[in-house]
Subunit: 476 residues, 2 copies
């Protein structure tokens, strides 16, 4: 049954490719699904025309159906799933955006979910199950076919985003004392092999990995050659608990195409292929972008309500940061009452500090993720960032002092105040931009998530304090 879904999926994929070929502009490639169908479905949903909707959906392949489900808004999506529920093609799931996948699952009952998950490959099944709460997950797993149940359970045994979770259990391993001929014969005659594979993995009699052999090397080797003589025996096994970001880093660093995953006894338990790594790289870097801004991925597919809720925490922390800055200004209220021009100029110092700090922050967060920032060069990098802050401080201090001198000739001392404040705040901002993520990283807190709010609290409050404090000291 499972095999059927898979082979049908492959046939449909090639049909899809054919269609893509016929319509070559990039926009069209993504929109295999015409706006007419989407509109027709939306009208059908409004009129509750169940049979009309079912008829359209039956005519779509799983790829177009996924695009259709994604194209609807959250409520229509829910309605559609309720209508097609039991008839939903399981092979749609791997094609859906993660957020949409969860929404669809929420609209299905337990029996429907079990039927769908049973038709999926174990990695796709795990992707659905890992986001459920424990009770629901256990109930569904217990109703799966024995083979899938075993695979899913062993996968879920490992932490999310670990090598054990992302590895494939579908790989070809052969004894390393075989000859090329034996291996070729095995591949020709063995029926139970993965649909796709690119490398053979050699194991000893205890299932310890001893080497790997890409298929091109096998094809080019002499028939009576021992595999152990031609294999790459210097493989680096990945521990099953290694984080996926670390795995992706190793692939990039060493130019791997595949990696063997071993358990704590060194037994070969799975394989990670480079095509899985493409998605991990994309996911990890995109996560950093979102974290730096306090947003989340998949917002395109979420309801207003869930987008709203997801953005509140970041806004609340920012509110605290800005209230802190406000209270600094409050301390100088009487000063501002005497010279309201200070209120005009104070945002400049704070804003330039924030911008400077954010530049450093982005560089440092990425350099930490890619391990370009090591114990060897951290101190030097701190020094460099401070120097850059100082130089930019001097440059923009001169600029803003000149502007202030020109625009407010009656307050010449103010130029000096804003210039000194600018230099100080830009130096602080640069140092904060590197030290905050470094400290958070040491404390095992993701620096992409929370560096920004600490930084802005410091550069805003610091900027106001230095500027207004200096004004008090030098002007009155």
């Amino acid at each position: 049954m499972k095999k059927n879904v898979k082979s049908r999926k492959l046939v449909l994929k090639s049909q899809r490719k054919k269609r893509v070929k016929e319509s070559l502009t990039p926009e069209k490639q993504v929109l295999g699904l015409g706006p007419k169908i989407v509109n027709s479905i939306m009208i059908g949903l409004e009129e509750n025309d169940t049979s009309h909707i079912r008829k359209i959906v039956e005519g779509l392949d799983e790829y177009d159906l996924a695009k259709l489900i994604e194209a609807l808004d959250v409520d229509d999506r829910k309605k559609l799933i309720e209508i097609i529920g039991g008839h939903l093609d399981p092979s749609v799931f791997p094609e859906l955006n993660e957020v949409v996948q969860e929404q669809v699952i929420e609209s299905l009952d337990e029996k429907q979910i079990v039927n769908i998950v049973n038709e999926l490959d174990s990695d796709d099944a795990v992707e659905i199950l890992e986001h459920m709460d424990d009770d629901e997950q256990t109930q569904i797993i217990n109703k799966l076919s024995p083979e899938l149940k075993f695979q899913v359970k062993s996968s879920l045994h490992y932490p999310e985003d670990s090598a054990g979770r992302i590895m494939s259990r579908d790989f070809v391993s052969v004894p390393d004392d075989w000859t090329v001929k034996e291996a070729k014969n095995f591949l020709l005659t063995e029926e139970n092999l993965p649909d796709e594979f690119y490398t053979l993995f050699m194991v000893d009699d205890k299932m310890h990995p001893t080497g790997e052999l890409a298929l091109d090397k096998l094809l080019r080797a002499k028939a009576n050659e021992k595999l152990s003589n031609i294999m790459n025996g210097e493989i680096v096994p990945v521990d099953v608990y290694t984080d996926q970001e670390e795995v992706a880093h190793m692939f990039r660093e060493y130019g791997w195409r595949s990696a063997v995953v071993v358990d704590n006894k060194g037994h070969l338990v799975g394989v990670i292929n480079i095509d899985d790594v493409v998605d991990i790289v994309h996911e990890e870097v995109s996560e950093d972008i979102m974290h730096l801004s306090g947003a989340e991925e998949g917002d395109v597919y979420k309801s207003v309500n869930s987008i709203w809720k997801s953005r509140i925490p970041w806004l609340i922390t920012n509110l605290f940061a800005t209230l802190l800055a406000s209270s600094v200004v409050k301390g100088f209220e009487s000063l501002i009452a005497q010279l309201s021009l200070l209120a005009v100029l104070m945002p400049i110092v704070a804003s330039m500090g924030g911008t400077t700090g954010n530049q450093t922050l982005a560089v440092v967060v990425r350099a930490l993720a890619t391990k370009e920032l090591t114990s060897r060069n951290t101190l030097r990098m701190i020094g460099k960032e401070f120097m850059v802050g100082l130089m930019n401080g001097l440059l923009f201090a001169s600029l803003i002092a000149a502007i202030s001198w020109f625009v407010f000739p009656q307050y010449k001392d103010l130029s000096l105040v804003i210039a000194i404040a600018m230099v100080c705040n830009l130096c602080i901002a640069s140092l904060a931009g590197i030290l905050i993520p470094l400290i958070l990283n040491k404390l095992k807190v993701d620096p992409a998530v929370s560096s920004g709010v600490f930084l802005i609290a410091l550069t805003d409050s610091g900027g106001y304090f230095i500027f207004l404090g200096l004004a008090k000291l030098l002007l009155f």
Copy 2:
């Protein structure tokens, strides 16, 4: 000669892997190079002990030498290259960070560069040549070996970041009317094949691609089967001018492992493999992070001077934005003189607007890059973002009004002013966060680069204007 470098490289790579295997912690894996060697080199550089330095460098494989060059600061790096210059192992280059690569090239003379480039694969050679100015590039290309010269020239003929630039010209293509046996024999006997390949590409007699066959399918097929019967004939050729970001998107969207690249006559001219795509995905998404903050990648390896220069443009544009905001405040100077409390509260409205807008901005910039934002859902997304802005506006308006009411009981009307200003500015910020990148995208300007400054100009100036304007209207 070229072959030698390559095979030596492979041997060294496997030695490297062995060493990695022995020292398993992630930190150690990256630091194959001990701090002792780095220090010893630094002392050698200080004392101008050329022979000592040459001796150490000779003992390093190309991987460790690359790490050593990266570990030094810019000046020491220059000195080291001047000392080892002519003896520099060409295979170091592909291992170097792009920024460091450029710095090393700048420290070499033309003859040394020609010698090094001549030893590299065409894609690594192109990576070095593409950053040179035209005269220098032409001079060096003219001195390359005929074969490399041809390959490099045809690569450089295509725009940077196009499929033509990133594709490999080293692939295996066979006539589609061959049998499995003929193909296998060809692979066994043909000497001039790429070092690594994973797929055979079928062509007709005019070199038009007609299909592809993964090696596992070849290994599992019957000997007398025609390739045209078992190949995947539904391939989607990529045009040679397609942008690399688009190529990466197609790989992710269609789950490709490789793609054929064709010229305007439909002739097969190259192949892109998934391992090239990993780096593209990483590069493109990282670029977006840096652009959103106005920084650049590779700053870890740059001199203070070049980091400083690269960050100025963004700070200047931000200066304009903040001067604009200041001039808004200037318009209300007399109002602030009357009630200095306004200066205390005004940063809150501006700052919350900026944060809200940046959340939307990050989501939209990514959704544009991944094509999740299409003509189908743009209008709905604008509506959703506006609603989120409104709801957050109402939430934080209530919060800040309550705080203001509690802290400044003598100015009860101020609570109303800041509440209304908060709602308005957060709505504006949300709309700006989606409309600015959409408009820039329409105008073919990279939305990641310049959206931020427009946004902050709007939310700061807007925030001050609405808050102070309302205060003037309602309080006096």
